[in-house]
């Protein structure tokens, strides 16, 4: 797969002296969903703002679709749609006018059918004649998404798109994002909801203190950094752990029918084989076994701690 966005040696020091990004290198592949994770102030918005032309980089360069974002900004920006983190829409204009404005601003000819499709997909069609200041917060956020899609971008940046959107709507928006990806749009989203990244992303990038700590396939990330929990269901309740098992960091459930064991999938030896052998040696009958991958949230917190 080719890179549609290429970021090389990108750094940003704001006039206030804050170093918001340091030497970020990143290739975003055409057609993928990339989730950027990072704590508050990590530099996610700064990164997006530079690519979209809102912030000038201190050093480094970026190209979108092969077009340099400074020298060839028209071609680069025509490919990009941006949904900013902060909700801001012209309060007195109707939804339809707002969305058509965005399309025209990007130099695209009028296409009411496309705008209708976008508004319907975002459940805004019934609100098209309403003024923006008559909309709820979640609706305004969807108007921002509609604006970003009005000119049919090939790369879509979503800066915390689902903050303040209710759960059912959030799932609908994920569906919209997946459909976009299926239609070939490359999507970069930032989020604090790990569930979102876990559900949506093909790859995940982790930023902290302006440094891109890693970019990895989601599945691989989970595998490499994931902790797993083994749950062993017993046939007969266990009153206490036998001595041979006591030192292995096991936890027994209150009723004594379940034993859990946490292990690191990265470790050379996970200890599972030994554990099961010990169970057999003690004559403990096992009814069932299950393992669960730790969530991305746990992965992410560990990663940030390890790099602190």
């Amino acid at each position: 797969m080719t890179a549609i966005v290429e970021i090389r040696g990108l750094s940003k020091v704001y006039a206030s002296g804050t170093a918001a990004l340091s030497d970020v290198n990143l290739d975003i592949r055409e057609g993928e969903i990339l989730a950027l994770l990072g704590p508050n102030g990590a530099g996610k918005t700064t990164l997006i703002s530079i690519v979209c032309g809102l912030v000038t980089p201190s050093s480094g360069r970026v190209s979108v679709g092969g077009h340099d974002i400074v020298r060839d900004y028209r071609a680069a920006r025509a490919l990009i749609g941006l949904v900013p983190q902060e909700v801001s829409v012209e309060p007195f204009a109707p939804v339809w006018t707002t969305v058509s404005f965005s399309r025209g601003l990007f130099g695209r000819p009028r296409d009411d059918a496309h705008l209708e499709k976008v508004l319907r997909a975002l459940a805004l069609w019934d609100k098209r004649h309403a003024r923006n200041n008559e909309l709820s917060g979640g609706m305004k956020r969807r108007v921002l998404i509609a604006k970003a899609l009005a000119h049919e971008p090939r790369v879509l940046f979503l800066d915390e798109p689902t903050a303040g959107v209710d759960v059912s709507l959030r799932r609908e928006m994920w569906d919209v994002v997946r459909q976009l990806r299926d239609s070939g749009v490359t999507i970069i989203l930032t989020t604090h909801y790990l569930e979102e990244a876990e559900q949506m992303a093909d790859r995940i990038g982790v930023i902290d203190k302006g440094r891109l700590l890693l970019v990895e396939e989601k599945a691989k990330l989970m595998r490499e950094f994931g902790r797993k929990r083994l749950t062993v269901e017993l046939v007969a309740p266990l009153a206490a752990l036998p001595e041979s098992l006591a030192a292995r960091g096991l936890a027994v459930s209150e009723d004594g029918t379940r034993v859990t064991y946490d292990y690191d999938t990265r470790a050379e030896r996970t200890g599972i084989a030994h554990l099961l052998a010990a169970f057999a040696a003690e004559g403990i009958a096992v009814r069932d076994l299950s393992t669960r991958q730790s969530s991305l949230e746990e992965v992410f917190l560990r990663l940030v701690e390890e790099n602190a």
Partner: protein
């Protein structure tokens, strides 16, 4: 050139004007009527004519200029300040439009509003006095050039302003005094020689003088000088725009 982007900005701004058409037109019309009542009736009773033109008619070009300058500055500065203030500026900055195109869209709309308001002001003044326009094409040319120049100035103020106070301070402290001292209601030749010299340092005088010449053929300064003054003014504005474009001043971090 992304002309479609320019037209889109222009239309969006004009839509704002049409949404509040009555408020937009009522205030200049009301102030025109007031000026006629106050200046025309009160002063006109004492000064019957200025250089062969009845005082009531004499103040019409000045009155229109006064309105055009104020409206241009306030419409254009608000037009660009508003998206900065509410945060929708991000879209303009991320769009494939150059800063020049943004300027053309916003300044074009603000200048158009001023021209419309000037037309309405002129029509209002016909209710009070008889005015014949000697050089209608020049009249229009001065009107458009002035509207554009001062809309450009307003645009720059809107970019510069960080809050509503700053937005209003320049129009209040600089533009309004210059306009009042710019010979809107009198001819500079009516002043004592020293003050006539001072008045000629005021750029607005050249605009009013040229505009008045297009109505009556009378001027405080040669009409060519007036044109030159508008040209210089416009040029300075464009220079500032160029600077902002190069540096992203007050727009990009």
């Amino acid at each position: 050139m992304n002309w479609r982007g320019v037209v889109t900005i222009y239309r969006f701004e004009m839509a704002r004007f049409y949404r509040t058409l009555w408020e937009s037109l009522a205030s200049p019309v009301i102030s025109t009527v007031l000026y006629f009542v106050v200046f025309g009736a009160a002063i006109g009773g004492r000064i019957e004519e200025v250089e062969g033109v009845s005082y009531g008619a004499f103040i019409v070009p000045g009155l229109i200029m006064l309105t055009v300058l104020q409206q241009s500055v306030s419409n254009a500065s608000f037009g660009i300040f508003f998206p900065k203030f509410i945060g929708t500026m991000y879209e303009i900055l991320s769009a494939p439009v150059s800063f020049y195109e943004v300027v053309i869209g916003y300044v074009g709309a603000a200048a158009m509003k001023s021209v419309i308001i000037a037309g309405v002001t002129l029509a209002t003044s016909f209710l009070f006095v008889d005015v014949t326009i000697r050089h209608p094409v020049w009249m229009l040319a001065f009107l458009v050039l002035t509207s554009v120049s001062f809309s450009l100035l307003g645009f720059l103020i809107g970019i510069w302003a960080k809050d509503f106070q700053q937005l209003q301070i320049i129009p209040l402290m600089v533009i309004t005094p210059l306009v009042f001292l710019g010979g809107a209601f009198y001819s500079a030749s009516m002043l004592p020689p020293f003050w006539e010299g001072v008045a000629k340092l005021n750029p607005v005088l050249y605009l009013v003088s040229g505009f008045r010449w297009s109505f009556f053929g009378l001027a405080d300064v040669p009409v060519g000088v007036s044109l030159l003054a508008v040209g210089v003014f416009l040029g300075l504005g464009m220079l500032a725009v160029w600077y902002i474009f190069r540096t992203g001043w007050r727009l990009r971090n």
